[in-house]
Subunit: 158 residues, 4 copies
């Protein structure tokens, strides 16, 4: 990974090439004091469309926005030509996603896994990262997560 | 309500004529230090069978038993002849209910609503009562409850 | 099986000790000209409550009653004391079952499997028997059945 | 609509600019003798992804391929830049669609509704068209369709 991208991740919590649903690019330090739920997904990943993304939206609706932030991260690691920002924009609209969604920065060269996904060594999509109010990573989960367990884990950090 | 039943509810948190899945009759004071989830149901209530009772079992499976207790309460207020303890016993077996289930004590005379249900003024089944670690009633909900919200509310009390 | 019960099954298609939702006791010969769906269930069987019985009701709602009849059969083979006609009556009411439901006749002595269930060698509940317009048994299925496949099989007999 | 496109629809049943999962471009006349289910969808339409497209695949799996054909038609009428053939190809792969899928031919000029969709006056996606064995249109449905009803309607045409 190029040094400048690694530095952005170290500084901001992620490296994003483009944001949707965000006036200011969100960063982990700027969200200090809030629990942060990072939902990594791909718009053509069926488990994301069925479970992960609606669950992330549900988290965003359930918890007060002054205490918790949900951030979407479009971590495209396959079918890159099929999941461009243009398609993502329509996906966000059609799926009524209200939280900020960033496009994970490409890694250098032909490496297919984008930078933030590589940094956190995510196994695939959907993945969920849970940061506490100090910005420390507290949970790292791949696949379908139970609503009740997630609700309890988030509440324990609030 | 007869005085002795009212006294038992005031002392134990409930008045129960018969327990299943319990060696010792559980009481709210004996559970002090634990969050207590009381699941009031009827075995022929469709919303209980589909949602409420499986959710109560899920709570019992998710949270550590040394910190949380789930108590079932069979609050029969209609079809009394159809939902006897004999039928309840088979229902508990067929639905793999592992937590203690008490039969709510009948009220005096022909009043159809059983005593604990009347005491807490429950509107119907399923109802959920959430007691904190000091035994104080903190939540009172009728009908279907969202898993994520319930997980968060329980965790906030733990 | 006592001879008289065997004769009733041979004559009527089933032996029933009591009917609900029926003015005249339905029989297979009296239903000649209609496709008949026989839904064998137990009121405490979880697969019946979740899938089988709602599916039978859906069949009854979807197809015209002058061409198809749905018959419920309460085939209690376990927890006999828990699933009496009194309890069944309340179950029918609470689950909004609109089609006729018969209580399968007890077999002789202590044999736990009721007569019609034994006659058709049903493996358990829910079971579905499909009779064509001439009263011939055409399908015999145990467990959860796919809605689309069932719709197609019924339509093929109409 | 340009005359040549109208002629292709009149001749083939549809006008398609590109096929996936098809060695020969399927046409309605070439499928004579089979019931044909046409599933019109958009890859970013949530009702399609959740219900319509899995249901079309289920139809394709349930009925024998020598008697029934399922044809997908990608009828993009909004977010055209987001649902290109490149994206559709990945969608087909990720959603394990096994039946042929055609891209509905664009109408002339800036008219957003593609040609086959316009010809059949489809109201939106998902839409289902059901052709009998002689190629006559027998059903025209928009939105979510019940599995049992669809199974019955198809079987009635077989």
């Amino acid at each position: 990974m190029p040094d400048d991208i690694a530095e952005r991740i170290a500084r901001d919590g992620w490296a994003v090439s483009r944001w949707f649903n965000a006036q200011e690019p969100p960063t982990l330090p700027a969200l200090a004091g809030k629990v942060v739920v990072l939902h990594a997904f791909q718009m053509l990943c069926r488990g994301c469309v069925l479970h992960g993304t609606p669950q992330a939206q549900k988290v965003a609706n359930l918890f007060p926005p002054d205490r918790l932030a949900v951030i979407g991260l479009h971590t495209v690691f396959e079918h890159h030509d099929a999941m461009t920002p243009v398609s993502l924009k329509a996906f966000i609209h059609e799926n009524r996603i209200g939280f900020p969604v960033g496009v994970d920065e490409a890694s250098a060269g032909t490496y297919p896994i984008p930078a933030t996904m590589a940094h956190y060594r995510l196994q695939g999509t959907p993945s969920l990262l849970l940061f506490d109010r100090e910005g420390q990573l507290r949970k790292h989960a791949f696949g379908q997560i139970d609503d009740m367990a997630l609700g309890a884990e988030i509440a324990a950090l609030l």
